[in-house]
Every structure is written in structure tokens, then in C-alpha cells.
């Protein structure tokens, strides 16, 4: 019987030996990994595979957490830096705190949940293909350029901290696929070029119910409040935002 869990002390440990220990443990069949004293190590779980592996990060990981990750679940007890879930393929990242810019940048599958706020360019260029549909849920608020160039996937911003979900410009500029769902609605002046905002239908709201319940359970929130709220949906005004920009020589 292989060891099922592993505890790593991250103090003064560079990210490469840290990731090497994680990879070796996953290769040995370890399913639960806890990393203590994490302080700014980048690339934790970078390119890591392992569908049934859970990694708990105690501390503040550095940038590109779970980049290219394909399968594992990472739970962060703390804030995260720049671009957690960058180009992530599969798996789940749960952040008990806030995260920096470009959260879920170019993400292609899996889920990222952020309890509090995110920085600029959240969910930028997320894309989907067949069964791969990335989901980013933010409990608090997001900064400008949310969901810019979005090509697919689902981005939900709940605005639970008392602020509006987003009150800065460039929301969904260049969006050509996927959807951004916000609690309440955002002022039209914040919509980017090529994005439009619509009230959510009962059916569409029902389609995010399980996601909201899952988010609530990850952070010990009461799902009833989330389910009772009103939402708006921001989508592409056209699937071909650049189709009319060019002529042939």
C-alpha cells in the first residue's frame, strides 16, 4: 500500500524542487498533498496531471499557480498572485482569498473559484472546445478588462463584498464566445466593444445553479442567497467581431 498523503514544508524551498517532490509523490500514488509555509513560490502544479489528487497550499503561492495543469485540485488557504489557472486544462483551483491579474488567462477547461476579488483581465481569452468548458467564479469583484477576447467558457462574478461585480471599463471587449454572468447588472458604459448585456432567463439561471451551489459549499456560504439573486448575462454581440474589418488587396 503506497502512502496516500504527504506533507511538505515549503519554507525556503525553491519552486523546482517543490514541484519535483509533488510530481514524485503523484507518481507514487499519493492522493493528498499539503504544502505548508508557502511564500511566493511560482508555478505550483505547473503542467501537473492526476485527476484524483488534491493539493492544499497553506500560505501565498506566487504567479501562474496551476498553469497548464490537467486534473488535480488545488486549494489555497491564502491569496494567490498573478494568473492562477493560466492555460489550465482540467482540474480545480479554490482560492480562499483574492487573486491578482489575468486569473484563468486562456484557460481551456476545469474550474477556478476565487472567494474574494480578482485583478485586471480576469478570464481573458478563455476558450472552450467540446466537453472542455472552463469556469471561473469570483465571489467578490473584478477589475477592468474582465473577460476580454473571451472565446468560450463561463465567467461568473458575484459581487458579494458589497461592491458591484465590476465597475470599470472593457468588460468583454472583443468577446466572441462564452458568457460572463454578473449578479445584478453592470452599467452599460463598462461594456467593451463587441459585448452586450442581457437579463438572464429562468432557464439560464437554472443552468448555473449547480455551479453556484458548488461554489457556496467550497467556501461555506449559504447557497440560498446566491440562488435568490438576479443576474445579467454578457455575451458577444457577434461571433465574428473582426469579420467586417478587412478587405482583400
Amino acid at each position: 500500500m503506497t502512502m496516500q498523503s504527504l506533507r511538505i514544508d515549503g519554507r525556503d524551498l525553491h519552486y523546482t524542487p517543490l514541484n519535483q517532490q509533488i510530481r514524485a509523490a503523484v507518481a507514487d500514488g499519493v492522493k493528498e498533498i499539503v504544502i505548508d509555509n508557502v511564500l511566493g513560490q511560482r508555478f505550483i502544479g505547473d503542467g501537473l496531471r492526476g485527476d484524483d489528487v488534491t493539493i492544499t497550499v497553506n500560505g501565498v503561492p506566487g504567479g501562474d499557480l496551476a498553469m497548464f495543469m490537467s486534473g488535480p485540485t488545488i486549494i489555497v488557504n491564502g491569496n494567490a498572485d498573478h494568473a492562477p489557472g493560466n492555460t489550465m486544462d482540467k482540474g480545480k483551483v479554490i482560492i480562499h482569498g483574492s487573486a491578482g491579474d489575468a486569473v484563468a488567462h486562456s484557460m481551456r477547461g476545469g474550474r477556478v473559484y476565487v472567494r474574494d476579488n480578482i485583478g485586471y483581465r480576469g478570464g481573458i481569452h478563455m476558450k472552450q472546445y467540446r466537453e472542455k468548458r472552463p469556469i471561473l467564479v469570483v465571489g467578490g469583484s473584478a477589475r477592468a478588462f474582465l473577460g476580454e477576447y473571451m472565446a468560450g467558457g463561463l465567467l461568473i462574478v458575484l459581487g458579494l463584498n458589497g461592491a458591484t461585480p465590476v465597475s470599470e471599463r472593457g468588460v468583454g471587449s472583443g468577446i466572441h464566445g462564452g458568457e460572463i454572468i454578473v449578479r445584478g447588472k453592470i452599467a452599460d458604459e463598462y461594456l467593451g466593444t463587441g459585448a452586450k448585456q442581457l437579463p438572464i432567463t429562468a432557464e439560464q439561471k437554472e443552468s448555473i445553479r449547480l455551479i453556484l451551489e458548488d461554489f457556496a459549499s467550497a467556501f461555506g456560504l449559504d447557497p440560498a442567497t446566491l440562488l435568490a439573486a438576479d443576474y445579467s448575462r454578457i455575451i458577444a454581440a457577434s461571433a465574428r467581431p473582426f469579420a467586417n474589418k478587412y478587405t482583400w488587396e
Partner: protein
């Protein structure tokens, strides 16, 4: 409609005395120039792009294509191209898209550089008799070596070497994505590079599974759209290239129109069929040179530090300083793509006006890296407008380690440089996804042609080196003493760091 129709670009004529009415021109033209009416073959010259597919397959040499049969009133400033672009934009109000590389008649620096040869005082080398070392290693070289003598006399290398790519000739094939070119075209290139022992780039289009057998000779690309990028793709590549810019369109992103995203392209790019594939102008996780370092390191970390990472930039005014930043980012090679670099589709205004020639960019990059003592940290790969082996020799003398060719390899597969790649109806089966056109390009035959081209250039390179008394590519690299500038101005001679002819 007040502009009316513009003069024909090409006039197509069939010599009826020679024509045997076989109809091959009708079958081969994918632009709708020919049609049959009764027994006669009728011609609509306006549709012709001069791709020469019909000429190439006419068994009787009966077809004649004349370029610009009707002149405009000639004027040195108001060229035909300037006037026609105005007509186009007056009609449409849009950005003009064009194909291939820079089409303005700027002087070509390569053609004003000449190579040296030995006479009397030092003997030339005959490559038939002497071994010529053309093998090149792309990647970081250690700045020093730490050795330890073992008991018994053996020596142990204690310095940890960084992974390098070993290429048998300093000629690689640049990144042309599946989507921009057909799978058969990529397959032909893949077979050719695998047999020669060199590499090709996948472009930003993912890696189709039928190319997996050639993956050890493929450089996978991570561009701003991140299409087709996942951990499997990264692990399959022999090296990974981060595309920051492209010589044909410096500073802007790319845009593959939905019509070109067929089922198979959709699958390798991992986006829905028919959707536009938009690569933003910047990488949105790279807003600074520090962020570039982070992306380089994230790719190395994801692939466990087993693969060289390249960074490709368009040649622009500050290439030298940018390359120095790249060398410090942990990257293993910098690709400098000059303003003559090709593209399937690029705004004409960028293709013709933005960026600088690769010759000047490579010379200044090499000089800057040497000044800063970091030339060993990165290899320099030159691309954009490499047309013959002499260009390869000259750019290596100016400081490049190797070159990427693009258009030259396509020409080896039949491309006539008609520049209509963006239409998606390439009659040669290269820049198209239409199955009936793609089928025209046989991967095996075309692989042989590309292989022949690289062999021919490699042999010529060996001869040029031998004539200069050089038997190793290492001794040619950065060897500006074997170059002279012919009718170049002093400023440019200084940038290139070459003397004038006669000096």
C-alpha cells in the same frame, strides 16, 4: 461605383493553335478563370492571380499570362499599388489585407554584401576531400566548464549542460501553422526535416496527431492565442517557441477567419468549428520583460527543464536591447524575424512599412549580446527573406547561429509567390483547407523536393565555406571579416560592422 473597374492585373490568353482542348486548365484553376462554353475554353482574366497552376499543368504550353497589360499613366509617386489601394479603401472603408512578405521595393542588404574567398596566401578547402562541420547546436552554452580529473585519468564534466537542439545543417523551417497551410504541406515539411536532421515549427495551430511520428523534429509554438496549447502538446515538442512578434506584422496579433476553421483545424486548435481564432496583439500574461521571464520559466517548469525555449520577435528598431532582455529571461534562443518575413494574411500597411531588415537586426543583436558578455546565453536564429544559400552564409557571418526558412520551403512545393494565401483557395494545396485542393499536394513527393532544396543549400554553404578556407560553421559565425559591403552607406556599414569592398 463611380470608380469603375480597375485595369486587369493579369491577362490570360490561350494560343488556340497549340491548345488541344484537354481542359486541364479548367480543372486546375481554383480561382475560376476558365470555363467551357460548347467546345471553346473561355477566360475571365480578372480572376487570375498568376499562381501559374494552369501553366504548370498545360501539356502544350498554350497558356500565356501577361502581367499588368494596361498601364496607368506612369508616375513615380502615384504607383499603381498606391492608386489601387486607394480605390479599394474608397469602396470598402476597410483595412487592406495582403499575403506573403514586404512588397515595397526597398533595397535588399543581402544583395549589397559579398563573401570572401581564399587566393594564394591561405589555401581554400575542398569539401569533397575534407570534412566540413555544419552541425549546429541551438541553445545555451556554458560560460565556463568545470572539469575534474578522475583517478585513472578520465575527466569528468561537472558543469550541468542545458538541453540544446542538434541540427545537421543551420537551416530550419519556420512556423507555418496548420490552418495557415494545409496538413499535407505540414506533413511534407515534417518528413523533410526528419530525414535531414533539422527542425520545423508548428506555428500557433497545435500539433495534428498525424504529425506525432515527427514530433522529435518539431518546435511547438506558444503564441498569444494559446491555441492548441496543453501539457501534451508542450511535452511532444523538441523545443518550445514563444511567439511575441512576426516580421510580416510587427506589433499586432493574428486572426484566422472562421471559414478556415474546419473540423480538423478546430480539433488541433481546440476551438469550435467555424469560430474566429483571434490571437491578441500582446500575450495578456506578458506586459513586461519580467513577465516574459515568468512565461519562459513556466514552460521550462512544466516540461521539467528538458526543452530549449525560443522567443521569436519581429525585427524592430530596438531589437538589440529586446534580445538582450530575452537572453536574460532564461530563454535558450532568440528568433529575429525580419520585415521581409511572410504571412498567410497581414494588413498591407504593416507588411510594407513596419519593422527592419533581418540583416541589420541580427548584426545589432549579435553585437549587443557580445558587448554585454551574454552571447553564449542564447542562440540567434534569423528569418524573413532568406532566398538562397548565400543569404544563409551572409546572415551567419553577421552573427546568426541558424536560419528559419518559410517561403523558400513553400516555393520548393510549388508556391509561385502569388501572394493570395489569405483567400484560402491556393491551387497548389498549400495555403488552403479545401480537401479537393489539399489532395493535390502529395506529402511524399513534396518532402523530397524540400529535402532536395535543403541539401542543395547545405552543399553550397559547404562550398562557400571551403572557398573561404573555413571548415566549421563555428568559424563562419559572426565572422564579419569574410563580408564586404558593396555600395552601402557608412551608417549601415557601421551597424553591420563590415568594411566596404576594397578595404
Amino acid at each position: 461605383m463611380s470608380i469603375g473597374s480597375t485595369p486587369l492585373k493579369f491577362r490570360v490568353a490561350i494560343d488556340t493553335d497549340r491548345c488541344m482542348n484537354c481542359g486541364r486548365c479548367i480543372e486546375n484553376c481554383s480561382y475560376g478563370v476558365y470555363r467551357k462554353e460548347g467546345d471553346a475554353i473561355r477566360i475571365n482574366s480578372r480572376n487570375c492571380v498568376a499562381c501559374h497552376r494552369c501553366l504548370a499543368f498545360c501539356p502544350r504550353d498554350a497558356i500565356e499570362i501577361e502581367e499588368k497589360p494596361n498601364d496607368y499613366r506612369s508616375h513615380p509617386v502615384w504607383t499603381r499599388e498606391a492608386r489601387e489601394a486607394i480605390f479599394n479603401q474608397a469602396r470598402t472603408g476597410k483595412i487592406v489585407l495582403a499575403g506573403m512578405g514586404n512588397a515595397k521595393p526597398y533595397p535588399i542588404i543581402f544583395d549589397q554584401l559579398v563573401l570572401d574567398a581564399c587566393q594564394v596566401t591561405n589555401p581554400s578547402i575542398d569539401p569533397l576531400r575534407e570534412p566540413m562541420e555544419l552541425r549546429t547546436y541551438i541553445g545555451k552554452k556554458p560560460s565556463s566548464l568545470c572539469l575534474r580529473q578522475l583517478p585513472g585519468g578520465d575527466v569528468e564534466l561537472r558543469t550541468k549542460l542545458t538541453p540544446n537542439l542538434q541540427i545537421e545543417t543551420p537551416i530550419m523551417i519556420g512556423h507555418m501553422s496548420y490552418g495557415a497551410i494545409s496538413l499535407n504541406a505540414q506533413m511534407a515539411l515534417a518528413k523533410a526535416v526528419s530525414r535531414i536532421g533539422t527542425f520545423m515549427g508548428t506555428g500557433e495551430g497545435g500539433l495534428h496527431e498525424s504529425l506525432y511520428p515527427y514530433q522529435s523534429h518539431m518546435i511547438v509554438q506558444v503564441a498569444s492565442g494559446r491555441f492548441g496549447v496543453d501539457i501534451n502538446y508542450l511535452e511532444r515538442g523538441a523545443a518550445i517557441e514563444i511567439k511575441i512578434g512576426q516580421g510580416a506584422k510587427p506589433g499586432i496579433g493574428g486572426h484566422l477567419p472562421g471559414e478556415k476553421v474546419c473540423a480538423d483545424v478546430s480539433c488541433t486548435r481546440m476551438i469550435p468549428e467555424g469560430s474566429d481564432a483571434i490571437s491578441p496583439a500582446p500575450h495578456h500574461d506578458i506586459y513586461s520583460i519580467e513577465d516574459l521571464k515568468q512565461l519562459v520559466h513556466s514552460l521550462k517548469e512544466a516540461t521539467e527543464w528538458k526543452k530549449p525555449i525560443f522567443v521569436k520577435i519581429a525585427a524592430v528598431h530596438n531589437s538589440a536591447a529586446i534580445a538582450a532582455g530575452i537572453a536574460r529571461s532564461g530563454a535558450d534562443a532568440v528568433v529575429v524575424d525580419g520585415f521581409r518575413g511572410g504571412s498567410g494574411a497581414t494588413p498591407r500597411v504593416f507588411r510594407d512599412n513596419v519593422g527592419i531588415p533581418v540583416e541589420a537586426a541580427v548584426a545589432s543583436v549579435d553585437a549587443k549580446l557580445r558587448q554585454q558578455g551574454i552571447r553564449n546565453e542564447v542562440s540567434v536564429i534569423a528569418s524573413g527573406g532568406i532566398r538562397e544559400s548565400a543569404d544563409v552564409a551572409k546572415i551567419i557571418c553577421l552573427g546568426a547561429d541558424a536560419v528559419y526558412i518559410g517561403t523558400s520551403a513553400l516555393v520548393a512545393m510549388g508556391c509561385r509567390v502569388c501572394g493570395t494565401c489569405y483567400r484560402g483557395t491556393c491551387a497548389w494545396g498549400i495555403a488552403t483547407q479545401k480537401p479537393e485542393l489539399v489532395r493535390r499536394l502529395d506529402p511524399e513527393t513534396n518532402a523530397v523536393q524540400v529535402e532536395n532544396l535543403i541539401h542543395g543549400w547545405t552543399d553550397e554553404l559547404a562550398e562557400l565555406m571551403g572557398a573561404a578556407g573555413i571548415n566549421s560553421i563555428e568559424s563562419l559565425r559572426g565572422n564579419r571579416d569574410r563580408l564586404r559591403g558593396y555600395m552601402l552607406d557608412e551608417g549601415l556599414l557601421n551597424v553591420l560592422d563590415v568594411k566596404t569592398v576594397g578595404a
